[in-house]
């Protein structure tokens, strides 16, 4: 995997974050807004994981690894926590959107009172 430039994941992360901010600010559909936030989370998580990447490193397990460099374990722990939290956030958001849809009959943020992204 050495031939991939090391900053490639960072570019991908930046792209994800940029696109997700575009979606969050300009899209009116609430489901799209939630997708934007999921993408933002994915971008940040990708950024964190690629921080800990070492070329040719192995998984950060204490025993049972071949000799050589190890991938940093702390960013992976951070990412994992962040993923767990995002599951909760997304579940809560979807529940609320279902409720909003029941009350207003629409998923358009313009139509429900004066909702802003």
């Amino acid at each position: 995997m050495e031939y991939i430039p090391l900053n490639f994941p960072f570019l991908a992360a930046a792209l994800l974050v940029g696109v997700s901010f575009y979606i969050i600010i300009f899209k009116k559909n609430l489901i799209k807004l939630i997708m934007g936030i999921a993408m933002l989370a994915a971008g940040v998580n990708l950024f964190l994981v690629s921080l800990g990447y070492r070329a040719g490193g192995t998984a950060p397990i204490y025993t049972d690894v071949p000799e050589g460099p190890m991938v940093l374990s702390v960013p992976q722990a951070l990412t994992l926590t962040s993923i767990v939290i995002n599951v909760a956030v997304l579940a809560l958001m979807l529940t609320m959107v279902i409720h909003i849809y029941r009350h207003t009959g629409s998923l358009d943020s313009e139509k429900s009172r004066k909702m802003k992204g």
Binding site: A59, I61, Y62, T63, D64, V65, P66, E67, L80, V84, V87, A91, L94, T95, I98
Partner: protein, 153 residues
């Protein structure tokens, strides 16, 4: 509710999913995985059942009260394990050196030893229990919502 073939296959497959989930939970401290990952795998099996059978059908066997008790129990076991170390410090790994998960792993390459990690494997089980109950409840609630049934969330 889907066809009989799907339901039969789902019925058989859920066992394997459960076993794989439990494997990931049990080996959380020596291989990639852990309570959340294993729990999420098992909940993916629950989602499969949800697709194969209807949400109303599944609601009969996965009762909300039971899930709620399971979730609280998982969290309380986790907290109790953390509190058990308070003789020295909160979260202190008091099982190190004891016969239960107490071996100290040898540094360097070698086969993973499952009897290591102290309280961490036990905590993984607690977290797994909580994640299974919590995520199942969430998935079930959303499914019941979208099928138009009133649930108290």
């Amino acid at each position: 509710m889907l066809s009989k073939i799907v339901r039969t296959v789902a019925n058989q497959l859920i066992l394997f999913i459960l076993i794989f989930g439990l494997y990931v939970i049990a080996h959380g401290h020596i291989t990639p995985g852990g309570g959340f990952q294993g729990g999420a795998i098992i909940v993916s099996g629950v989602i499969m059942l949800l697709v194969a059978f209807s949400s109303k059908e599944l609601k009969k066997s996965l009762r909300e009260r039971v899930l709620s008790i399971m979730e609280s129990t998982g969290a309380l076991i986790f907290a109790a394990l953390a509190f058990a170390g308070i003789g020295t410090v909160f979260f202190y790994n008091f099982l190190v050196g004891t016969p239960i998960f107490g071996r100290i792993p040898v540094p360097g390459p070698g086969p993973g030893d499952i009897w290591t990690g102290g309280v961490i494997p036990l905590m993984n089980f607690a977290v797994g229990l909580k994640v299974i109950a919590g995520l199942s409840a969430v998935v079930l609630a959303i499914a019941l919502f979208s099928s138009g049934e009133e649930v108290e969330e």
